[in-house]
């Protein structure tokens, strides 16, 4: 099997889908000639030419809007928002336009566009270039949100997002771009949008995670009888999969990169508690980043993101006591 990097898996997915479907086009800042600030569009300009692969001005609102218009007029544009934060200048186009256009046209227009954005901490980019911010995209019926967690899911979900008939945001954990590993470059059998992935089966506890925290959770839980679920799609998320696991384990922990307050895990926990209250053996809880900006500097940033050792310690404490563990910042009296 080919060994590729995460970022290459994305470029391959784009290329494969562009070969199959002439309506797929790619644009964004420096995605054409420079092949993407993170090299996620390697080879595309050379193969597909300047009509279908375009560099844009620094105009997130215009090019996101252009994607909405192009999609409405029959193309399948894939755009790149270099850092998720930049969606802050173009959110209207995603949430208020793209997500609502199908509804607003009485189901006649479709907006098959993909908004790729890099997210998350770990690169030392500082507090305005390191957040996950998936909260901006929720409470928006009509917009799907997926988050790849490894090379295969980066490839699969990118292709699946392009094939989807509506708008899909793909939030790519920036910290994973350099990861290298095997990829099945497949036409069929792609991971599906809306389906969670069981990364490891287990019976003692259900651990739901997403993005770069999935691999950390897997590492953390070596030797623990945990069922590890990669949510994979945040909207609409796979309630059946998580439900089935909780029925088996009676325990739920969410591991997220987002801060405590405003993080995506609350919805999973909340809806699952409403459904499985009687089946739960102990309080479910969330392992997350603290309520603080993402700090610059290797050590602090590493501390900020839940790491395997910390995840392990938290879950081990929980399993041995049935009590929700105290997060590190409270242990240290910091917050």
């Amino acid at each position: 099997m080919a060994q590729v990097r995460f970022r290459q898996a994305i470029a391959l997915a784009l290329a494969d889908e562009m070969r199959k479907d002439a309506s797929v086009m790619v644009f964004g800042e420096d995605v054409a000639h420079a092949e993407g600030p993170f090299k996620t569009s390697e080879g595309l300009l050379a193969e597909f030419g300047p009509l279908r692969v375009r560099d844009t001005p620094i105009s997130e609102m215009a090019f996101t809007g252009a994607a909405v218009g192009a999609a409405t007029a029959g193309m399948k544009p894939v755009i790149e928002i270099m850092f998720m934060e930049f969606m802050g200048v173009a959110l209207d186009m995603v949430v208020t336009e793209a997500a609502k256009f199908h509804y607003l046209s009485g189901g006649e227009f479709t907006v098959p566009m993909v908004i790729r954005a890099s997210v998350g901490a770990g690169g030392g980019f500082g507090l305005q270039h390191s957040q996950t911010l998936e909260n901006w995209l929720v409470a928006t019926p009509g917009l799907k949100v997926v988050v790849p967690s490894d090379i295969q899911s980066a490839y699969d979900l990118t292709r699946a997002a392009i094939r989807d008939a509506g708008p899909v945001a793909v939030l790519e954990p920036r910290a994973l771009y350099g990861d290298r590993g095997p990829l099945i470059q497949r036409e069929d059998g792609l991971l599906e949008i809306g389906k969670a992935r069981i990364m490891r089966e287990g019976n003692g506890i259900t651990v739901v995670s997403m993005g770069q925290l999935v691999a950390k959770s897997i590492e953390a839980l070596a030797g623990i009888d945990a069922e590890i679920i990669d949510l994979s799609t945040l909207v609409p998320w796979d309630q059946e999969c998580v439900s089935a696991s909780i029925k088996k384990t009676g325990r739920l922990v969410i591991v997220q990169e987002a801060p405590v307050s405003g993080g995506w895990g609350h919805e999973v926990l909340s809806l699952m508690v409403s459904k499985h209250f009687a089946e739960l053996k102990a309080a479910p809880f969330i392992i997350s980043a603290p309520n603080a900006p993402v700090p610059y500097g290797k050590d602090l940033e590493e501390l900020y993101i839940p790491q395997p050792a910390y995840i392990k310690e938290q879950i081990a404490h929980y399993l041995s006591t049935n009590q929700v563990p105290t997060p590190w910042w409270t242990q240290r009296g910091l917050n």
Partner: protein, 330 residues
Amino acid sequence: MSTQHEVQSKRRSNLSDPVEQLRRMFEIRYFEEEIVGLFSEGLVHGTTHTCQGQEALNIGLAATLNPDDFVACTYRSHGFALALGLTPEAALGEIMGRTTGCIGGVGGSMHLSAPELGLLPTFAIVGAGLPIAAGAALAFQTRGENRVAVAVFGDGAANIGAFHEALNLASVWKLPVIFICDNNLYGEYSRIETTTSVVDIAQRAASYSMPSEIIDGMILADVIASLKRAIDRARTGGGPTLIEAKTYRYAGHSRADLATYRPEGELESWLPRDPLLVRQNELIAAGVLTTQEVAAISDQERASIAKVIEYTRNAPFPSPDAIFKNIWTQ
């Protein structure tokens, strides 16, 4: 019986006829005038923005575009929708929240849509239509089609970031898109000079090395001539144009607004140049219609709108399942 689709196509193609153009200007005028009363009756919910005085622009645009061209316009677009061919029934049905509305009554006055006529869902967010029209043009350009896209927006919208970004992008990519600024002198309750650092919005085209024109938006012939030039340029690879149409908003910004902030006599100074008046006088002068014929058309349209209202009063409201339709694309 002809299908909705056939009726709409006919309404559109008819617009090559000057008499039909005038008729449809009356249609828009009476439609808008009646909306106000329906609002007071409680039959229109929320808000509504009418376009009396801007009919020449409505009809001029619809008469020059092809049905497969795309148009992005605003919450103030009953007139454009009717001009492009949407039936008054489908427009009023939407405005009154009935199943007969163009999107089944779940959208309301700000959200008219007619894909088969090229009308994108009208935009309730100021400026949002500009990048999206540019995007439609991008699709046409990329596929090598001979189609154009149009964005219509107000003078107030010329101060929002989306305007700037869209015009720059359209210029850099030479997109077949026409930007039409309907400068009616007001953005809500604010007169243009209190919010806008240029006198003519068209001046801003220079920032994008884009050709521009300023036209009298009250004169149908001028609107059509200018649009033809811009559309031609776009269809032949000449890229985007910015057209500024000088018009006047006869009514207040939205239903509740009595426009007391307007200088005394301003409205009155515009009325002698009313687009319907100008056009009917032209047609009479040219011997195309007699005064009596014009009056008859006017009466017919008034009566016809009255019927549409009657019909819509009796049209059903959507049932709860309408809330859940068309959210997710299948």
